[in-house]
Symmetry: C2
Subunit: 438 residues, 2 copies
């Protein structure tokens, strides 16, 4: 049997500890599957004394993850520190520079400089794995890079943040409001003390930027992404969505726009994260709670959906170790499916070029003439109304009115919303949720 | 750029033709992804003149697929002839013997001698791919072999036959009877003229035997499988299942039974294909129509579901070419996740060892005392009744009675059914559908 793959684990939070545990517990199984052992030889974290439920005695200890990354006794570095800067970034760079394979779960870092890191790894002849950075245990990176690699991908989208999906699912099933459910999620450990990264859509956007690069052979372009979170989704929206046959999900959507394009032509790519209304009977609508779901649309394979746990120590460790298994087996596939040097710049397609249907919730004064003013604004921007519901009556007070628009352009739609927001009889900014036919 | 991978395609039915088309259409994309071209150089089929919608002029023609498999100009052979014997088997064997890589979509052949073929390929130092043999375009083979390889797998199950799923879905949504829906499926091309392979569960069982080998590191053991099809599922069953909160699906289920077991201990594996009642809100219940869905339960990753098109030219060609891409990229992972020489014999666990809940439909004479006789038979075998429904009344005639049993052993359950079948007041053999809590 060949020599062991010697692993250094930088970061011993939930994921790092689960990775060390998995590699110890399944050592014989992994040696059988790789025809060689995978062995943790060193670990690095800030606090050696902290209880983690794992025995760290067999491993060399580093206070400095960068020193671990440079250690000559390490073949592959697992970076599960997190964060786009600081020690995580330094560890990743140092590992590659020192000629080690790198496995990272760091979507923030990848969103910022994933293309550069992949090029550096390629130049240094080391392998880069980041299965754990997107959708936890779901092997979606491998699916795009290998399993579905025969296809030209038209679109990839999904539920990429378990915290948001848990909150939205709970809002739907209980009828409670966002702030209330968020507070509970924090108590349960499903949301961070500072939840903005998750609930404002940033985490999902980081992950989507990686999926888009893989799917379309383009450089990661996080700056081109349109990002909205779920703070403005209300219990009222869930009630109306249900009545209209929809679910509300925070989706990340990356799609190729326009014609296939010839070789050498820059692909036109739209990337966006925002709450969506999706048909209640669509497969993605059934992905509930902390689960993630990713859908890939390929020209030969059709529509594929992958569903599983998107976070947590066990699922993420499963993904980290899957990358280590590939390295131990000698699998050398380009990290982004094509040589990193050949990733091209996409031509970003801005959100105001979107064409689609829309759900709008207004709070309007319940008095004659209000709807006439609202519909006049729509007419002036050539936005066509498909349905309108006003259930509550409270003469002289503000009541919710929900409208569904036929397919229309985003730019005109937003101009109409700006007009409506200025009407004296409209009490709050219009809340717009895009309707996606998936 | 290295030399092209030179491919010979044996069989030009729907899948073979779609494979040739895909490789031609996506040649530049594939060359980019593999850093070398994948080129079809030869094809073999029975009838050269048949219209297939593809240009065959660029390829050398073989009437004999075995001659193609032995041709020195071919690096990798794609066998999409089908059938466990005859030319398909001869082609696969000849390709490996001649030192070619082999890609096959042939689940019947794999179920019969997949372990032997993998050992032969290993001995000859060639690679074997069969992503296309299970669940069409869904990359479930790669997921088990690589993406989820960090896990000890407890269970793998799924909807593995699109024909059955289409028939069952249509029966549910229309209330029509099996024979009627089958006839329609045949007209639509979703079922074969002789549909027995599909509707009797044999095709799903072939696929399950391959998944079980991969998941558990065991030799393929098709003979150990319990197989029932969907012929006896009736419109009445769908009505009752709906009332009870269930869907009816034909599932293939392979699971590890009992304790984890030490190294060297033979794993105890149950493999079965039969109609199941599953909770209407379970993810697998939402996989409808011709779609396939596969669920994998791993100890670290938790529950993963993969859903997509399980058949058809495009999806299957996507899977065939995924294997060719691996070969072109030089990926060399054991076909069954561990070296074929190390696959162990499982200890089969027979269906009569199952413990679970059951749905039973009886046709009984509507007269006093019948239910007392039925429940006495259950009591004598210690089978405990959870619910009973008799909706229809027709004194002196046969009416359906549905019973749901608490968790019980299969052996006692079947003895109780044998007793009930002998009762003079029971008009038809009891129809039993296992309830699976998934």
């Amino acid at each position: 049997m060949p020599d062991a793959l010697k692993v250094g684990v930088a970061g011993l939070g939930t994921v790092g500890a689960a990775t060390v545990k998995l590699l110890a517990e399944h050592a014989p199984l992994l040696a059988l599957r790789c025809d060689r052992p995978i062995r943790v030889v060193a670990v690095a974290a800030r606090d050696r004394a902290r209880g983690r439920g794992i025995d760290l005695k067999p491993y060399r200890w580093f206070d400095d993850p960068v020193a671990l990354a440079r250690d000559p006794g390490v073949d592959a570095v697992v970076e599960v520190i997190g964060g786009a800067d600081g020690p995580a970034r330094a560890t990743c760079r140092a590992a590659i520079e020192a000629g080690k394979h790198l496995v990272t779960a760091n979507k923030a870092l990848l969103a910022k400089e994933g293309t550069a890191i992949a090029r550096l790894a390629e130049a240094k002849g080391v392998r880069l794995g980041f299965e754990a950075a997107v959708a936890g245990g779901i092997p979606i990176i491998k699916a795009l890079r290998e399993g579905l690699a025969a296809n030209r991908i038209a679109r990839v989208f999904g539920i990429l943040n378990g915290t948001c999906n848990y909150i939205l699912t709970t809002m739907r099933t209980t009828g409670r409001e966002f702030a209330d459910v968020l507070a509970d999620a924090q108590k349960l450990g499903y949301a961070e003390a500072d939840p903005s990264f998750d609930i404002d859509g940033v985490d999902a956007a980081h992950k989507l930027s990686v999926l888009a690069s893989l799917a379309f052979g383009t450089e990661i372009d996080f700056a081109a992404m349109h990002v909205e979170g779920i703070r403005h989704v209300s219990a009222t929206d869930f009630a109306f969505a249900d009545e209209l046959g929809f679910r509300i999900k925070l989706l990340g959507i990356a799609e190729r726009i326009g014609h296939a394009g010839g070789e050498g032509e820059r692909p036109r790519i739209a990337q966006r994260v925002h709450p969506c209304l999706v048909a209640a009977d669509s497969p993605i609508a059934a992905v509930d709670g902390v689960f993630n779901g990713v859908v890939v649309e390929g020209d030969y394979v059709g529509t594929q959906m992958f569903e599983g746990r998107g976070a947590g120590g066990g699922p993420t460790a499963s993904a980290v170790v899957a990358d280590l298994i590939d390295m131990a087996r000698g699998v050398a596939v380009p990290a982004f499916a094509i040589p990193a040097a050949k990733l091209v710049k996409a031509e970003p397609v801005a959100i105001d070029r979107r064409v689609g249907a829309y759900y709008v919730r207004l709070m309007v004064m319940d008095k004659p003439g209000v709807i006439a003013d609202v519909t006049a604004a729509l007419r002036d921007e050539q936005v066509s109304l498909e349905a309108m519901i006003q259930r509550a009556r409270a003469p002289g007070e503000a009541v919710p009115v929900v409208m569904v628009m036929h397919e229309t352009g985003e730019a005109g739609m937003m101009r109409a919303m700006a007009r409506i927001a200025k009407l004296g009889t409209v009490a709050e900014p219009p809340r717009v949720i895009r309707i996606e036919r998936l």
